[in-house]
């Protein structure tokens, strides 16, 4: 049977290059990077080189890169670290309604501990407005955290402008760049952000490896207290192979960013055009301007039918995509992001995200479009809500 992976926003396969680069660091060069002998020095050298490479890829200094165990940890650290560091200055944090749970639930947790959080709304395409941010800033605001690119609908925020507004009012700015890193060329100094999170498995690197950029000169409380690793900012024995794989994958992604954007973006555009031409009564969610949307992302709401059954039908045809509906997790709440951009609740239940990658082909696009057309017809014939247009 066919097997087509269209869920690259969930995770990507490890690249051959990254895999090869990682291999020596499991069993041959296995030392603890903090040890004071040759084994330790060899491991430390690998970590230091990886840090250097990652820093160069995003325009940072090596001393501004801290390795973490995943993107979620980087996000938690940025928000909780600043909340703790600046608790005497203020207890107000600003974020957006469409953040990934790594930020969203972290903010919800801080609310239980006496912090106030403003969740900025987004417009119909998922954009946060600079004006709404400016209006929300208060004297006790200590942090603004707004994601670079959204994981569900691919909307790319005007990070530089948002950051300028925060800084104008003397407020620190963090961005969750987990989906953006490796897909969008950026330079942290040009963006101006104080902190930025990334995760290796989103750009063909290993799972369980992330990093937080922290601008030099900033102070942030630790999240993981422990040993003296990461210049005494993050306890825990460094994941040497992970750091190596992350660096190789990021360099490869950044070196090829325009080429990959053209190829993968081309597949996505072809897919979107074909789907819109062949299926009626659907919404294409997210930014219409492709320059303001992740090139791999397509998100549709299909009226009158439910997301899990669409996903399951596609799965039976060998197509792996992702549902905007959280029904499969046992909750009946449809996606917070889709509701925030104004998709009606019922329609939000019928939403599917397709995220393309480098290994996909134009045959994958055509096969998926055909199967999707068949699935939607079949499920609509079964739906009590659908009245066939005469």
């Amino acid at each position: 049977m066919k097997s087509i992976y269209l869920d690259h926003a969930a995770t990507t396969p490890l690249s051959e290059k990254a895999f090869e680069a990682m291999k020596p660091y499991f069993s041959d060069i296995f030392g603890n990077a903090n040890s004071q002998h040759v084994y330790g020095r060899d491991a430390a050298k690998a970590v230091s080189d990886a840090r250097q490479t990652i820093a160069e890829c995003i325009g940072a200094k090596p001393s501004e890169i801290y390795f973490t165990s995943c993107g979620t940890e980087a996000d938690n650290w940025a928000v909780k670290g600043i909340a703790a560091q600046l608790k005497d200055k203020g207890r107000h944090i600003i974020t957006s309604v469409i953040e990934h749970p790594a930020i969203y639930t972290t903010c919800k947790q801080l609310e239980k501990y006496g912090y106030e959080v403003t969740y900025l709304p987004v417009d119909g395409e998922g954009f946060v407005s600079v004006e709404s941010l400016e209006d929300a800033i208060r004297p006790d605001t200590i942090l603004v955290s707004i994601m670079f690119a959204n994981n569900e609908i691919g909307t790319i925020q005007p990070i530089k402008e948002l950051c300028e507004v925060a800084h104008k009012h003397g407020v620190l700015f963090h961005t969750d760049a987990v989906q953006a890193t490796g897909a969008i060329r950026y330079d942290v100094k040009d963006l101006g952000v104080d902190m930025l999170s990334m995760s290796a498995h989103k750009f063909y690197g290993p799972k369980g490896m992330g990093a937080l950029y922290v601008r030099n000169g900033m102070r942030i409380e630790k999240l993981l207290t422990g040993g003296e690793q990461e210049r005494a900012h993050r306890g825990g024995t460094t994941n040497v192979s992970g750091a190596v794989g992350m660096a190789v994958a990021l360099k490869d992604a950044v070196d090829n960013i325009e080429k990959d954007a053209a190829y993968v973006g081309g597949l996505r555009d072809d897919f979107v055009n074909k789907v819109l031409a062949r299926i009626d009564e659907i919404y294409y969610n997210g930014a219409k301007d492709t320059s303001r949307r992740l090139y791999n992302n397509a998100n549709f709401s299909f009226r009158y039918i439910e997301g899990e059954s669409i996903l399951f039908s596609l799965d039976l045809a060998g197509i792996s995509a992702s549902s905007g509906s959280a029904c499969s997790s046992g909750s009946l709440e449809p996606s917070r992001t889709l509701l925030s951009i104004g998709v009606p609740v019922g329609t939000a239940h019928g939403s599917i995200r397709f995220t393309f990658g480098k290994r996909n082909t134009s045959e994958d696009v055509d096969y998926t479009v055909d199967e999707l057309v068949r699935t939607v017809e079949k499920l609509r014939a079964m739906s009590p809500l659908y009245k066939k247009q005469a």
């Binding site: 046992g330 739906s383 009590p384």
Partner: protein
């Protein structure tokens, strides 16, 4: 997540659509919850369900339980049909994931509403 039986029923649902000249209809659930089931039946003078068909908006478990429950009541009297529980439907499907059990209640409810409708029409 789903067993073979559920997958097979979802792939090839039976009794899908609307019965011609039905004299009982029941619709339960709502779009907000992500589950709606409609069942239509033709019931004869002896209160036997001669035919029944369903239409469902919902997840694979909702579709599979709709199809199975509809099949289980055809040929039964309305009194027997009212005795059908979601447990029996789940057993017929050889089990559902725990978080999907609530979907199976939909069919039981729809059958009850349809039979209420039939009785109202008959007596009304």
């Amino acid at each position: 997540m789903y067993n073979e039986k559920v997958m097979e029923v979802f792939r090839n649902p039976q009794h899908m659509g609307e019965v011609e000249n039905y004299n009982a209809i029941g619709t339960v659930g709502n779009e907000t919850c992500g589950d709606i089931m409609q069942i239509t039946m033709r019931i004869n003078e002896d209160d036997i369900i001669e035919d029944a068909k369903f239409k469902t908006f919902g997840c694979a478990a909702a579709v599979a339980t709709s199809s199975t429950a509809t099949g289980m009541i055809i040929g039964k009297s309305v009194d027997e049909a009212l005795k059908l529980t979601n447990k029996e439907v789940v057993t017929e499907l050889e089990g559902l994931p725990p978080q999907k059990i609530h979907c199976s209640v939909l069919a039981e409810d729809a059958i009850r509403v349809a039979i209420d409708d039939y009785r109202k029409r008959k007596n009304g």
